[in-house]
Symmetry: D2
Subunit: 311 residues, 4 copies
């Protein structure tokens, strides 16, 4: 039954599956790997799944364009959770393979820049060829097509492989952000450490146009956590912007900023307000004076009194 | 009875009385001259008068500080109307006086810079001494203390004088703005050509603090018509600001700007929304896209839908 | 000889004279009282005096419009020094007069609101009539025209009077700011605690026009100390702005802000860079990162390298 | 000899080669395909090539991250030219293949979303597998590994294939932007229709930090053409920004904006000023009043006069 099914970017053994398994709500669901981000999300759109977990941002490679573009277009979806997963690769081989045996290596194209330095240092002669996913690379090693694959260590068992080397990652702090996406509904209540995602399309272009949009957040003390431009498809020079702002749509300062965007943009798509992964109360930007919910409410009451002649 | 009484800055025969008589609502009232702006306004505060007409701004001399300071402090009052009066002086003399007879002239101190060039050209030897008001100057001429007084031509009859010269004004377009002030009540409905007056006190001073205040108007496309700093009395360098903004408090863009000020200022005093004198529909600043009442309402509805999961 | 002559707003015995005598450079000059601010400044313009001291701002009454307007128009002048003088009045009487003898009091119109509360408490029945200056009021008491005058205590000796009461001032911290004005020349070197004065005329009016001007200061971390609108004489709604900014024209951030104003304003009049009175190093607004002279110089050097292909 | 050699993202037959051949300066050079963007650029860095042509932005897929990241890091390079190439795919097959024969198709991963709709309509049953480049896909068809490849029609001859279908592109106006990159040198003189590229790293993060950066452009009327965030590698939430601004570094308004960025950013890398491809004089954003070179020069002269006492 669809309400019990979560899809994810497969195949089995990917980092996405590992991320999904960190979510308590995934423990009792049927987890279904899909061949692509669009496929995972379409299963949600057409009711075959309750939610999908897909990668949205990588600290080395940047935004995952397939996810950004899918969320920005088509039937609306909403983000309910995010997961941050540290990314470290293991070099998976068939049992018995030694480092000196390895002539060919594979892995997802996104993995390649994250292990490039390690390869140069330890396997300078090995030939790289990309696979459709890290897990698919493991499968190809199992089938004997390659000598080794970079993948998550957790994928070894699935494909009968061994981790010859672990914890490979050129960049410190490499991590990937995943989002759990469902059909639109009332966002969960604020936790105090939240994030709000929108995609906006500008109404017109003039010097300072983008500034006016960002001013809607800044004027209300709302911190931006991500600003990612994406082509609209109307040709070079035409962009929409995926924006993550600190706070929850139920926060008055965030709500008023969103209304400001709605008024001055050609289009705004609300993608959800949800708890920030890996952040605690100490990571919240201090409120700028004049931007608390209480102050918004007091200002609203004061305006009503002025309009009634009771100020 | 107080509801039938309007006070004004007297004595009889001042420009203020002339301005008051241009108001239809003054035709059926008892018009009472007062010795000062504070006296005229206190009569309203203590219920002896329904409203007071006082000068607030002169196109040559600038803001009338007594009026600005009285409106900014004490028990709150509200502006209901404004009147613009072109200022031209007549040289009032006792019947029979010739230009060559005039050795001494008087008038309100504010009149002096407005007739300085005329005096230099036509009465270079005459000695000027200030009077408490233009009308009071006329009275002093009547009493024989001075040979001539600068005052409104309409004051001649009151004091048994003649206008020896009319239409004296060094500056082209000299005019004075008067306001009709009453106790706070619900502002009149918008006419489409309105103005809103407030006084604001900043919460703190830092580079860009004033900018943030003005940004509350600019971000919503609200045009400023007046920005007048006034000392708060706490020493040099401490100011409050009297601001006139285009539009009515019932306009959503104006209301939201006022709430923004209320949140970030130490104090905001609403002084009223009222029709702009001497302005028609053609004088209204065109709406910036995204700032109409309709767009505010649509944005508010959209936010509610987002919060309910129906966007 | 004119180089040895300083004029000031007279007559003798005014606060202006007291302020002038606090300046070391005044000790060896001939100090000449003038009947008005324009007269004091015209003596500088036509070479009869090297400089003039005139009041420019009062912490109770606000800007001294005659001074602001004189500096904004006519042949350019420059401010070289400012003086802050605490304002406290003495009640001057003829020797032997007792408080209960006083039926009439006089003083400059600006003095009246500063002693109003004191009068109400101590001489509620006394009749006030304004004099041309505080010192002139003292003279009128000497002549027997009034029973008492509010003036600086230092004026008593000049007019053979006694200070019956001292230190009268309704407002705490009442003070007046005076400026020493001369013909334009190279400003004195920066002291580190400086102020820069300009008058600006906007090129056009549109929502946010004033904001753009202030942005020139804010974008470079330059703090505004005064923003005073003055009518341009072209009718209600037409203003120029007298601005005092923290810092010296020789500071790169101030210089670049002034150039920004020059580019976007219809007209800018530079009124001088001079030491801030009554301020020490501790009163200087901390530099915003990126706005030090060193950083301006480094940025300029970097741009040159980029343009030369050496970055 | 290296000065005669241009590298490009190979292999032969890619859109990059087609773009390179549109440049007159390429006609007399040795054009060398490289296996990757880093390889093409490293050949320039180490002196083996005078310049490299690499894709930087695709109107469907967005920024080419390998190029953006290579330009932002490592030894500095500079952009000298840009080329816009409309992107349309041909379906290349071995001679004699009919549409109904095609069971497997290949192409670069970036091509896939650009032909997805076409595939769904005309070859719904065909299985897609990605190739390292469009040209490499053509080679694999030549070798018999796949039945058809999406590539530029110009690649057919190189690999002995035929274009079964031409002009395939799901999106209207699909185009790719390429840049010709060399070692840093003095930029070419302004043409009047220029673009300036920089990468900036923020100094600190606070609400409005990005706004301050954009304000440096907006305050001087400089239009932004691209704002692309890229991860810095320091973890999720840490970004640098690739910015394309209208105008040339030799334009005063652009130069001052760049100096402003240099002052307030942790780091700025200048990537070049070069003619805008596909744009004429009519595409230039009208100058905002106060931002012409003449006005900058006049303001600079005025400041010098003020500092010398000659204003």
């Amino acid at each position: 039954m669809s309400a019990n099914r979560f899809t994810y970017l497969g195949p089995e053994g990917t980092f996405t599956e590992a991320a999904l398994r960190t979510l308590p709500e995934a423990a009792t669901r049927e987890l279904v790997p899909m061949v692509s981000v669009p496929a995972a999300l379409d299963a949600v759109r057409n009711g075959e799944a309750a939610a999908a977990l897909v990668p949205i941002e990588n600290s080395v490679e940047g935004g995952v364009t397939a996810t950004l573009d899918e969320l920005a277009s088509g039937e609306p979806l909403m983000i309910y959770r995010e997961v941050l997963l540290p990314i470290a690769f293991a070099l998976l081989v068939r049992p018995g393979t030694k480092l000196s045996d390895i002539k060919t290596v594979t892995g997802h194209p996104v993995a390649q820049p994250q292990v490039r330095n390690w390869l140069r240092a330890h396997l300078p002669e090995a030939v790289w060829e990309s696979a459709a996913s890290n897990a698919d690379g493991a499968r190809l090693v199992q089938e004997g097509r390659f000598d080794a694959a970079f993948a998550g260590e957790f994928a070894a068992a699935t494909y009968g492989l061994q981790a010859l080397v672990s914890e490979i990652h050129d960049a410190e702090n490499a991590e990937t952000r995943f989002v759990l996406v469902g059909r639109p509904a009332r966002p969960a209540a604020p936790t105090g450490v939240d994030k709000t995602s929108v995609v906006i399309w500008q109404r017109e272009d003039h010097p300072g146009a983008l500034l006016e949009l960002l001013q809607e957040f800044a004027a209300r003390g709302v911190n931006l956590m991500l600003l990612q431009s994406r082509p609209t498809g109307a040709g070079i020079g035409n962009y929409c912007f995926a924006i993550d702002a600190e706070g929850h749509i139920a926060d008055r300062r965030v709500g008023e900023a969103l209304m400001g965007l709605k008024r001055i943009c050609a289009h705004v798509r609300f993608l959800g307000s949800y708890p920030r992964a890996g952040a605690g109360a100490g990571d919240v930007t201090p409120l700028r004076p004049g931007t608390s919910d209480r102050e918004f409410t007091e200002a609203s009451d004061w305006l009503a009194r002025c309009q009634d002649g009771r100020a």
